[in-house]
């Protein structure tokens, strides 16, 4: 799985499931927490989705702004966890 696939998967979940708008245009570096695209409800759902889709367990201390601020940082985090095997 490439980082491009990861980003695409995240982008689709956020636009289809969180924004309920399949036409939403999301930039990989858009500040999703700051601009309100993801609220705390959205963050909880997103964590659940990532855990289910990529079979990783995200500890609460990893759910930080650094890891979840943009699609790019999320994809980077997931890739580190999946590829490096620094899994649960």
């Amino acid at each position: 799985m490439s980082e491009g696939d990861l980003r695409q998967g995240l982008r689709e979940f956020i636009s289809h499931e969180l924004l309920m708008d399949e036409t939403a245009v999301l930039d990989d570096d858009q500040e999703l927490l700051l601009d309100g695209t993801i609220d705390s409800l959205g963050a909880t759902r997103l964590v659940g989705h990532i855990e289910g889709t990529w079979s990783i367990k995200i500890p609460p201390e990893d759910v930080t702004v650094e890891n979840f601020r943009t699609i790019a940082t999320m994809a980077g985090y997931v890739e580190r966890r999946v590829v490096d095997g620094s899994g649960p």
Partner: protein, 532 residues
């Protein structure tokens, strides 16, 4: 220097600046502002606002997330003799347009990030004389960038009195139309004195500012903080949404007083979030706005044994009016926390349906007389008529109480206990049910994180009780096991007829559980299999 009368909020800033101009007033992300800089920049903004036509009593919008400039905007507007009106950046444009037009706002201070929405307002027919913080090149309105403000640092000479408006906060009304709650320098300054004295806020304190400025919790942070010449660390919006980031801001900023909503404390009590962190500076946690689930408070108090916890009560209309210091980790299945005792200089009455005081121990509506109370609702004579209770005292000169709409009883020790909103009491199958009690019992279940109960009118004119819950990750509970659990404690008529499991709850702009949206969402899902 001789004694100076302090009767306006900006005078708190100039007092702090006189005392120590280099003391930090605001910190937000990588920016800081000292009291000296805050005084200078807010006065310069005031001169610019006056030059652009702002008159005493004018309402000026602040359309921004947290930043040190937001603090400059609030004090600058007040120094110009105006009242600030927060415009929530997460609100839909139609609601912003409503607030701007309802409150007669002609001047707005906006952060650059809100530029697309400001452009959109024009399409909704909103007329503005000036937008400060943006440039003309960005938008169709006459505009003025921060770099054009100038540097006149002395306070404008303008007659402003303590009874003048200083801010108007719009909150959701029960009908869904926002209503503007008007506060004066007198009510806000009184609140600043109450909080600085009750919670011993001083210049060695670092207060958090968790609540956005459209949420009244922010007034304790800003005004109580300024009264104490303390530093206020604004917690950036993005950090409020994630528990681990919130915990790390509190730790790294060495916050000493954290005023927040139960929701944030529930987040922080998630296993793992507070581990291996140092919260030795955090000596006071205040929470309010909603009832606090006891099991989360219990676990948090055990993790933070050196912190004093206070349940602060008061509708936006009166600021805070009572508080209760939690003596120790409460029993998780105990009664809800009391709202406590009135602050000094606050008088409380408990009224029955006929507006007569009830005997001590009985439940009635709480009415408050306090210097911290609002002037009234902006442009709403209908609401103002109902909002106040007049007790005749000196031959036709009444004492004015604000009706809170909250049901309370006073116990034998004089401590007040909360029984929910008057309009949160429903009649189900002929019985009176307090929806808050249904929620409180649900949250005592080990698998339930949060609960929301609401009444659904039925065709035969009665009300059904419905509820929704969010569950812990490890939960094996189902709606039917939860209803069995409820039936062990609640009378049958109070057990919800429908119980839904949700991943998380929608929130209002101020972070409270949005029961209206839950009810609407569940109506749409009424054939879903998750219900019992």
């Amino acid at each position: 220097m001789g004694m100076r009368m302090v009767y306006l909020l900006p005078q708190l800033v100039s007092d702090a600046a006189d005392h120590d101009p280099d003391q930090l007033a605001f910190v937000c992300r990588d920016s800081t502002l000292t009291y000296g800089e805050l005084e200078q920049r807010s006065n310069a903004l005031a001169h610019a606002l006056i030059a652009r036509g702002v008159q005493r009593g004018d309402r000026v919008g602040v359309f921004a997330n947290k930043s040190v400039e937001t603090g400059v905007a609030m004090y600058g507007i007040m120094a110009a003799g105006g009242a600030y009106v927060p415009l929530d950046p997460t609100s839909p444009p139609s609601r912003l347009a409503y607030v701007i037009q309802d409150c007669g706002i002609h001047h707005v201070i906006a952060e650059n990030r809100q530029r697309p929405t400001v452009t959109g307002l024009e399409k909704l027919g909103v007329k503005l004389d000036t937008v400060i913080g943006l440039t003309d090149a960005d938008i169709a309105y006459p505009a003025m960038g921060w770099d054009e403000i100038g540097s006149r640092g002395e306070a404008p000479r303008r007659r402003v009195m303590e009874q003048d408006l200083c801010y108007v906060l719009y909150t959701s009304g029960s009908t869904g139309v926002p209503k503007g709650i008007m506060h004066t320098h007198r009510s806000a300054l009184s609140w600043a004195y109450v909080t600085a004295s009750e919670y011993s806020i001083g210049d060695d304190d670092i207060l958090s500012n968790y609540a956005p400025i459209h949420f009244d919790l922010s007034t304790l942070d800003f005004f109580g903080g300024a009264k104490g010449r303390a530093t206020v660390v604004m917690i950036p919006e993005e950090h409020m949404k994630l528990a681990a980031s919130l915990a790390s801001v509190l730790e790294q900023s060495q916050i000493t007083l954290f005023y927040t909503v139960p929701r944030a404390l529930v987040q922080l009590s998630t296993p793992g979030v507070l581990d291996q962190r140092d919260f030795s500076s955090l000596t006071r946690i205040l929470f309010g706005g909603e009832p606090m689930p006891l099991k989360h408070l219990h676990s948090l108090m055990r993790k933070l044994p050196g912190t004093r916890f206070y349940n602060v009560y008061g509708p936006t209309e009166v600021n805070g009016v009572t508080h209760y210091e939690v003596p120790g980790p409460p029993p998780v299945d105990g009664d809800a926390l009391p709202i406590g005792v009135p602050y000094d200089n606050v008088e409380a009455l408990v009224l029955d349906e006929e507006d007569d005081p009830v005997p001590q121990g009985e439940v009635g509506e709480l009415a408050i007389r306090s210097a911290t109370a609002m002037r009234g609702y902006w442009g709403r004579p209908d609401l103002n008529k109902r909002a106040f209770y007049f007790r005749d005292r000196f031959d036709g000169i009444p004492e004015v109480f604000h009706r809170t709409g909250d049901l309370v009883h006073q116990d034998r020790d004089g401590v007040y206990n909360f029984h929910g909103r008057k309009d949160r009491q429903v009649k189900s199958r002929g019985y009176r049910v307090e929806l808050d009690e249904v929620e409180a019992v649900l949250v005592t279940h080990i698998d339930v994180v949060e609960a929301a109960a609401y009444g659904v009118p039925t065709q035969d004119g009665t009300t059904e009780i419905h509820a929704a819950v969010t569950l812990t990750r490890a939960s094996a509970s189902t709606p039917s096991t939860l209803r069995t659990y409820l039936a062990e404690t609640l009378p049958a008529y109070a057990v919800p007829t429908t119980l839904t499991v949700l991943e998380d709850f929608p929130r209002t702009a101020t972070g409270k559980i949005d029961r209206r949206r839950i009810a609407e969402g569940n109506k749409a899902l009424s054939t879903s299999g998750e219900r019992s």
